[in-house]
């Protein structure tokens, strides 16, 4: 009996369940040593802000246990084994030693909002509070020339050490005159290149900074582009989404503090720990997709029963992000959770190619030449109609002409 059970288990358990994703002890030991050395180095340096992280935590009502729970979760998010938890906790405590310069270009400040707004800050947000934010147009008290001076100071003092966060697209049209800085009249493009020159790494936050986002949507009047399109020779980390998830910002900073390096990136320079899989792959409604249970119209029985939103234009199957796991607003909810599909906001050209609220086959696609807008099926039926008309004409002519042939005149 036991043998037979074992045989059945062998027969019916998929190989995929046995895939080894562990990189091996040697790899993790080496990484652990590397992180240890890096943290010791940071510890020896002066904190940039005279604040006690744990004091702030207890002021906000978090005890040590809750902090360690957070550290475990953050370790898991970074896809590291549990032995890294104390290191992650330590990295959090050392965040005061990371200088950050935050630039806002062609944006709506949505990403700044995302990291600021919270009802009773969670540990992620507190961390974003204690990183040494040396310059941030929206948050700083200084304005005008004082603000400029603050930026120059920060760039000089932390040359080669600061993380540069960029929010917003870079308008390249009209020689960059669509966006200029204050009295100097420096264009966004010049500004970005200058400030990025001495940065340790550049983090493009939000879809605008990543691919141009909304400003770059057709017809893109300002010729907006993303950071990676104009900045060369610097490590760039993209954290797209509209807005970027603060959890992913913290993840990237944590990784930088831990290792001094950028995390593993995909072909669009997005950290794999957050963008290494599709929303669809971990969606809470995935079972309804596989079952063929779809919301047909807003508010129908399917909608009340949390059916799949694919027919309402959800772009989860084409969008790489971790929303379905970490959600937004500290795990409270996320677009699909509230019953409306994903609009693919972390993918390139999302406004034109993803956010049309219906399945791709129903969307009007602009012909490359402009003008004609047809869905792929309308166009396809046009092709079939043309074929049918051609066949019809030929068949009719054949019928009229009759079967005549001068066969055999030449071979």
């Amino acid at each position: 009996m036991a043998e037979r059970r074992e045989a059945f288990k062998m027969l019916f358990s998929a190989n995929s369940a046995k895939v080894e994703t562990n990189k091996g002890d040697a790899y993790y030991d080496r990484l652990f040593q590397q992180c240890r050395a890096r943290l010791d180095e940071l510890k020896a340096s002066q904190p940039l802000q005279a604040i006690d992280f744990h004091e702030i935590l207890s002021d906000e009502g978090y005890d040590r246990r809750e902090f360690m729970k957070w550290a475990s979760a953050a370790t898991a998010m970074l896809m590291l084994p549990p032995m890294f938890t104390p290191l992650v906790a330590e990295a959090a405590e050392l965040m005061t030693r990371v200088p950050v310069i935050w630039l806002e270009l062609q944006d709506c400040a949505g990403n700044s909002e995302a990291l600021l707004r919270s009802d009773g800050p969670k540990i992620d947000e507190i961390l974003l509070d204690i990183i040494s934010l040396e310059f941030h147009e929206t948050l700083m008290a200084a304005a005008g020339h004082q603000a400029d001076a603050q930026l120059e100071d920060a760039m000089h003092a932390f040359k080669g050490k600061y993380l540069l966060f960029v929010e917003g697209a870079i308008p390249m049209g009209m020689e960059g005159q669509y966006g200029t800085i204050g009295a100097s009249g420096e264009t966004f493009h010049e500004h970005l290149v200058r400030v990025a020159a001495d940065a340790a790494a550049v983090v493009a936050v939000g879809s605008c900074a990543t691919y141009g986002g909304i400003p770059a949507a057709a017809p893109n009047p300002t010729e907006a582009v993303g950071v990676m399109d104009v900045l060369k020779g610097k490590p760039i980390i993209n954290i797209p989404a509209c807005p970027a998830n603060p959890a992913n910002m913290v993840g990237v900073i944590l990784h930088f503090v831990l290792t001094g390096q950028v995390p593993e990136l995909d072909s669009l320079l997005r950290p794999k720990f957050a963008f290494g899989y599709r929303i669809h792959d971990n969606c809470e409604r995935r079972a309804h997709f596989d079952a063929g249970e779809f919301v047909e119209e807003w508010g129908d029985e399917g909608a009340k029963n949390n059916f799949c939103l694919y027919k309402m234009g959800c772009k989860g199957p084409m969008t790489f992000n971790n929303c379905s796991i970490v959600r937004y607003n500290e795990g409270v909810n996320w677009p699909i959770g509230v019953g409306r599909g994903c609009i693919g906001c972390s993918e390139p050209d999302f406004w034109d190619k993803y956010a049309y609220e219906r399945p791709m086959s129903d969307a009007n696609i602009k012909a490359p030449t402009g003008g004609v807008e047809k869905t792929v099926d309308q166009f396809g039926l046009g092709v079939l109609t043309a074929t049918a008309v051609g066949i019809g004409i030929h068949a009719a002519a054949s019928a009229v002409a009759g079967k005549k042939s001068d066969e055999g005149e030449a071979q």
Partner: protein, 235 residues
Amino acid sequence: MKPGYEKIKRMTPAMRIIHWVNVVSILAAVITGLYIAHPYYQSFIADPAVDKYVMAWNRWIHFIGAILLDVTSVAVAYLYFFSRFEKPYKKLVPNARNVTEFKEVLINLLTLNRRKNFDSSHSDSFNVVYFTIMHLMLILMLLTGLQMYVHGLASGESSIGAWWPWMLHMTTDWTLWVFGGNMGVRYVHHLMMWWIVAWVMFHVYYQIWRTIFWQEGDIAIAFGGSKFKKSSETE
């Protein structure tokens, strides 16, 4: 057999099996593919989601159809060059003889069989070019389809090992750049389906038209493997 006619072998059993496997696969892939792109029927099955699997079965059938098409296409690609029956690649070479034959077959079609200056007892240039076009479209379907498939294997792992997603990325990632991201890949995959359906429409019409006008029983090729030709004309 009608006196004055003789039987000519045109398709080996292997070619006929390939032909009908392709017919069934294309039909299945179109029906299920349209469902995957936009689920056009609802499953009124009063079971919980876990027991239904309507979309999952559609995808499964779609992939099986795709696999069958891929296998037959590989076989066809081999036969193009190494068939012991007729090597189609010889008709693809754009030499004077093939170009002339291509033109003559086209003229025959356009003049409603008023002119027939080619030997219809074997596969002609027009035919081979026409079938090559279909196989090129199928290759594009394969590459764009596998690109969409590998999105689900983003971990870089699969049940048959890491080599599989790696190979898919290596062979299909270029489609992302050429067609403008994974939406572009979907669009091309969907649009190409319509061109294949149009191809099928003309193909079926042309076989019927040939059967009627040439009077050589062409429609029988795909079933029995042979057609007929006036004895006086065959050398």
